[in-house]
Symmetry: C2
Subunit: 229 residues, 2 copies
């Protein structure tokens, strides 16, 4: 008899429905939402209620409204939006430290849990790295390198680790690019993580950790050198 669901406010009902539409990709990032008049009919609520729901998602970072233009989808999840803001107001080097922390753990877990599909995916991006290295295409190399790391974290089979890593990495990409470009001694061959890949493939946690530790320390030195400029 007592319906607890009835005690959820209309605004909450509408905003969580909209959140689902965004998270499911039905309203994709960059797309414009239908006008308010239409949404009022869709959700069967008044203008103010609808607006409160929209504003809630705007504040959460999922939507962005522009007066006279419309409402567009800006971000896919609350976690992504929150971390994006957090990254923006923090020191880039400190964020990189967090990213490396997650990466190190991921390498160990990946060596333990990777399946055949993980190996295939990682191998694909290693190949792209090699191709980019041969052609000296830095942009392509960075793109493939980042996706390789992404796949490695995915191979750790820990959703939260993957979410945190992804949402921290995205807003860092331009910074990583700058670090790489400013590196005078940039050596493509040395940057291809073939050994790390092999260690994970052979399920050798020990070698994976050792390799990722070396890689991280090199990266740290690179950062501090650039910071001193």
């Amino acid at each position: 008899m007592l319906k607890k669901t009835h005690r959820v406010s209309l605004v909450e009902q509408v905003s969580s429905q909209m959140e689902d539409l965004i998270e499911s990709g039905h309203w994709a990032i960059g797309n414009r939402l239908p006008p308010e008049m239409e949404l009022m009919k869709t959700f069967d609520v008044s203008r103010n209620t609808l607006r409160e729901a929209i504003q809630a998602l705007v504040h959460a970072g999922l939507l962005e409204t522009k007066q006279g233009s419309g409402t567009i989808v800006k971000s896919k999840s609350a976690l992504e939006a929150v971390l994006h803001r957090q990254v923006e107001k923090s020191n880039i080097l400190k964020i990189l430290e967090v990213r490396l922390a997650l990466e190190r753990e991921a390498a160990q877990l990946a060596a333990k849990r990777r399946n055949e599909k993980d190996i295939k995916d990682m191998n694909h991006f290693i190949g792209m790295c090699r191709l980019a290295a041969q052609e000296g295409d830095l942009e392509l190399f960075l793109k493939a390198d980042i996706q390789f790391h992404q796949m490695m974290v995915k191979a750790a089979h820990n959703q939260m680790l993957f979410d945190l890593y992804s949402h921290i990495t995205d807003p860092l990409i331009s910074s990583i690019r700058n670090i790489m470009i400013l590196d005078k001694n940039f050596d493509y061959e040395n940057e291809i993580h073939t050994d790390l890949f092999e260690a994970i493939k052979q399920k050798s946690e020990h070698h994976a950790i050792r390799y990722v530790n070396n890689y991280i320390n090199e990266f740290r030195e690179k950062i501090t050198l650039i910071q001193e400029d």
Copy 2:
């Protein structure tokens, strides 16, 4: 001529002001906000505008409204709220993995950056651990142990690392307690991280990492043993 920054909506202005009041502790967690009529006068906006601002913070997880009763502060920051939700819908063991990832990085950074106050704080909780061990007080021991780890992460001097660690640890405490209680071979002396503390005190990154790796592996074994029950 026209300042583009001036085009921040009233709702945004009000909600960010309220967010500041919450984050600064002026509106503490659990406290009730002044009624809408009062807040309307405080911020000098209409009811609809105020309510949109409140709903935004409700959706972000900072506030909770109850019809007929009032609005209370539920969480201190958006990051805390979103991580809390994330932790709730995830596997506890997977969350522990993320926590350990952050802890490992923190140990290394703490050995590099700790100052005298950090040492003092950590020493205080190490002392509490010893006291609790002597008296066989498991509750006190866990409390002190968690605070010791918290201080170690703080000594890493990376705000985002600390925030992530804290907000992940809080909802995990009861789980950690259960793990410890279920451990038949629980040995107080062995659980006091004196060696880790000494390594950080001596600024020996190498020893700090080695110790924390051992500690983490032991903790992992403990978890898998219990999981098999």
